[in-house]
């Protein structure tokens, strides 16, 4: 295993660990206000300082990791759960009406950037973390459908698929038995990419107030609140941003590393 993959795994694991630990323990209570302690710089008591309500930033980052990871994870789940079957179906019936409908549907969703979907949903139902998940999740569907269809189409031309057809297997069975396992690498890599994009999107939505609402802690909203104080207490804006960058960087490094690691061509050469 090479260094970038290790670094990626380490950073991703750190974010995951922070989120899990925050479920039952954080250094300070993230809902308790302590105005007297507001905007303290990093110190032994508050490693990353405090915000304008005197809350411990390290604790809030840990709790915020929960929101970020959960939103991105569920959004990837939505995208995979719907996109992969649609992509398999389209590829198995290449050129048919089903294929056409799936592909045109994809194009249509691509015309709605996730922020625009979020705006629409928020305008109608009001802002919430759930809406952020739906908005990002919807946008993930065509991404996975495309990757799946593309990978599946190249496999459908191979002779082992012919052999399975000669063995009397139907399209659905072939898709499940021969196609899906062989595009799994592709999906895992795309999954990490969409996961990291999901974290960025959640941060953006929360930053403009379309995502998680108080008191749910969120990295994006921490940045929004920090914006007005950036001149007097830069650390309030610095650490949430760093948390996002490092988490996304870790996931991307992990994705790239996995792609190289899982690629059988590269593995055989090694």
């Amino acid at each position: 295993m090479r260094l970038p993959l290790l670094l990626g795994l380490a950073l991703s694991a750190a974010a995951l660990l922070a989120a899990l630990v925050s479920l039952f323990w954080t250094p300070y209570d993230v809902t308790a206000l302590a105005i007297a302690d507001k905007l303290q710089p990093p110190s032994p008591a508050h490693w990353l300082g405090t915000d304008h309500f005197g809350r411990d930033i390290a604790s809030m980052l840990m709790a915020g990791a929960q929101t970020s990871l959960a939103v991105a994870l569920v959004a990837v789940g939505i995208g995979m759960g719907l996109g992969v079957p649609l992509g398999l179906l389209a590829a198995a019936n290449r050129g048919s009406l089903i294929d056409e409908v799936v592909m045109r549907g994809n194009d249509l969703i691509f015309a709605f950037p996730s922020l625009v979907i979020a705006i629409l949903i928020t305008a109608v139902f009001g802002p919430s973390a759930t809406n952020a998940i739906i908005a990002i999740g919807i946008f993930n569907i065509p991404v996975f459908a495309r990757v799946t269809r593309g990978g599946a189409l190249s496999l459908w031309t191979l002779d082992y698929i012919r052999a399975a057809e000669v063995a009397g297997k139907g399209r659905i069975r072939i898709s499940a038995e021969h196609i899906l396992p062989n595009i799994l690498n592709l999906l895992i890599v795309q999954g990490t990419i969409q996961f990291s994009l999901g974290i960025l999107a959640e941060a953006g939505l929360s930053y403009v107030g379309l995502g998680a609402q108080p008191p749910t802690p969120s990295w994006g909203r921490m940045l929004a609140e920090a914006q007005t104080m950036v001149t007097i207490a830069p650390h309030v804006a610095l650490f949430p941003g760093l948390a996002i960058v490092l988490t996304v960087l870790g996931l991307n490094l992990m994705g790239d590393g996995l792609r190289d690691h899982l690629d059988p061509r590269l593995r055989r050469a090694a």
Partner: protein, 533 residues
């Protein structure tokens, strides 16, 4: 005096030796043949001469070209030499041209990068060279793109690019391997004509018959070494080296088989028609139709070996798909032992189980994630999985010359020839009556091919199998079939007993095919009693 002289050329990639101590000479205007099986290092030798060996390659020895050592010449000097004094063409004409540039641009580019001509002159020369390689101005304007040309035509463009500056040496790396036999004959003719214009040709090929017809000198390569070299005819007649002898024997190999055909009919195809709908030429015109299979009829008797030959695009693959019950017909019928063959689920499994297939590509024929046991057992889907499935897989593997223990391995652990054996085991496992062999030995080296053909002949005898042997390669079909059909543009143009057709072809197309097939002159094959070394 020689034009190109290799002295002890050795090449290693990241320290792994690929070529060792290659030495040969090419005289001006001569045709030099370099033969060997895949992986023997013949292409790498050419790339080393061109200075285009892959990253991480290091060379020793010398490659003297008109007083300059190509192995030590700086890259700048090499770029001046490539395309100017040494031209090169490659195997795969479909991908060798830039799809985004016109053929005129690509030929003219050779002149432009060497600053040998102005833009207008370069276009004039390009025009002249394309006409020289058989692409005249009236039918092939310079503004055509590669996708508008056939494979043979593209190879002609590649040749025009390589000879635009009248190089002294043309290196042709398997220039006709990807082409049909009649196109191959035309391209070889063209190359022969060019050598008469005082250009030397280094012809790299796996095909002994091609070399026999083209080269004055030949070198036989194996495992990165030259095992034997000399003037072509004496070398072919004497076959001094053991490896040369085995290569020679394999390319002429005829499995020991007796016709097995029994009375009755196993498979009948009656007036089969298979059409494809093409895109509309304009928004309101009806969809035009392409008849890939146009009223084909044939029968196969139990235990018979029937050959189906034709060039690419003749419709034989389409016909195969219909026979296997993968595609619907638009007319006619296919019957297997009286029951109709229909596509998909509409065909009963028991009927499907009487017919299996072996494909061409040993690498794409198996799901890389499954173990051999599961791969070979896949056709049990048709019959229901028997209790002794594992034993039956073991038996099938042993029948094709592999070990029972191989069933726990993954497919990437096997060579191309072994994979074709596994494909045969998979076809055999449910004891079908008919096996369709779709170019099943075309991707194999001659010696492996001979072994697989022997295996097929043996299995036919022991199991009473019928074969439908589909191939573009006439010599292989001649070696293993009882009867043969010749297909052209969707129709069967001639059929009859194999020996009769090859000895006295009636249809002009069959005659053209047979005439175009390269072969080693019969009298060279005699006195094969060279002293053992």
């Amino acid at each position: 005096m020689s034009l190109l002289s290799l002295r002890d050329l050795s090449l290693a990639i990241h320290g792994r030796p690929i070529l060792s101590e290659i030495s040969f000479d090419i005289a001006p205007g001569e045709t030099f043949g370099l033969v060997g099986e895949s992986g023997s290092g013949k292409s790498m030798t050419a790339l080393a001469v061109m200075g285009l060996a892959p990253h991480g390659a290091s060379t020793k020895g010398a490659a003297d070209f008109l007083g300059r050592n190509l192995l030590t010449l700086p890259e700048r000097a090499m770029t001046r030499l490539r395309g100017n004094e040494i031209g090169m063409i490659f195997q795969e004409p479909m991908t060798a041209l830039n799809p985004m540039k016109t053929i005129g641009d690509q030929v003219a580019e050779t002149l432009r990068v060497h600053m040998a001509a102005s833009r207008a002159e370069a276009w004039a020369v390009a025009r002249e060279k394309l006409a020289r390689v058989g692409l005249p101005a009236d039918r092939f304007p310079l503004t055509l793109y590669p996708h508008e040309l056939s494979g043979g035509q593209r190879q002609r463009v590649a040749i025009a690019m390589a000879i635009a500056l009248r190089p002294k040496l043309l290196i042709a790396d398997e220039p006709t391997t990807a082409l049909d036999v009649t196109t191959q004959a035309q391209i070889l003719d063209l190359l022969k004509g060019l050598t008469e214009e005082d250009m030397a040709l280094m012809l790299i090929t796996h095909d002994l018959a091609v070399v026999a017809g083209m080269a004055t000198h030949v070198a036989v390569m194996q495992g990165g070494r030259i095992v034997e070299q000399g003037a072509t005819e004496p070398l072919f007649r004497a076959r001094r080296q053991d490896y040369t002898r085995r290569l020679f024997a394999a390319s002429e190999h005829r499995p020991n088989r007796t016709p097995q055909a029994r009375d009755g009919t196993l498979l009948t195809v009656e007036n089969a028609v298979r059409e494809y709908t093409l895109p509309r030429p304009s928004a309101f015109a009806p969809h035009p139709k392409l008849r890939a299979v146009d009223g084909v009829s044939l029968t196969i008797r139990p235990g018979e070996s029937l050959g189906l030959v034709g060039e690419s695009g003749c419709g034989k693959s389409t016909l195969t798909r219909a026979i296997l019950g993968l595609d619907p017909l638009q007319g006619g019928a296919i019957r297997l032992d009286g029951a109709e063959v229909t596509p998909g689920h509409t065909m009963p499994r028991a009927l499907r189980a009487r017919m299996q297939v072996v494909f061409q590509d040993p690498y794409g024929s198996f799901n890389p994630r499954h173990r051999v046991e599961r791969l070979v057992a896949e056709p049990f889907h048709l019959t229901g999985r028997p209790k002794d499935a594992r034993d039956r897989v073991a038996a099938a593997l042993q029948e094709v010359g592999l070990a029972a223990s191989d069933m726990d391995k993954f497919i990437h652990e096997f060579s191309g020839g072994q994979r074709q054996r596994i494909a045969i085991a998979r076809a055999l496992i449910i004891r079908p009556d008919l096996i369709v062999l779709d170019e099943a030995v075309s991707a194999l080296d001659v010696r492996v091919r001979a072994q697989v053909l022997d295996l097929l002949a043996r299995l036919q005898e022991s199991h009473g199998l019928a074969y439908l042997f589909i191939s573009h390669d006439l010599s292989v079909v001649r070696q293993v079939t009882d009867r043969v059909l010749v297909m052209k543009q969707g129709r069967i143009v001639e059929e009859g007993a194999t020996e009769t057709i090859f000895a006295a072809p009636k249809h002009p197309y069959t005659r053209a095919l047979i005439a175009a097939t390269p072969r080693i002159p019969d009298d060279w094959k005699e006195n094969a009693h060279a002293p053992r070394t």
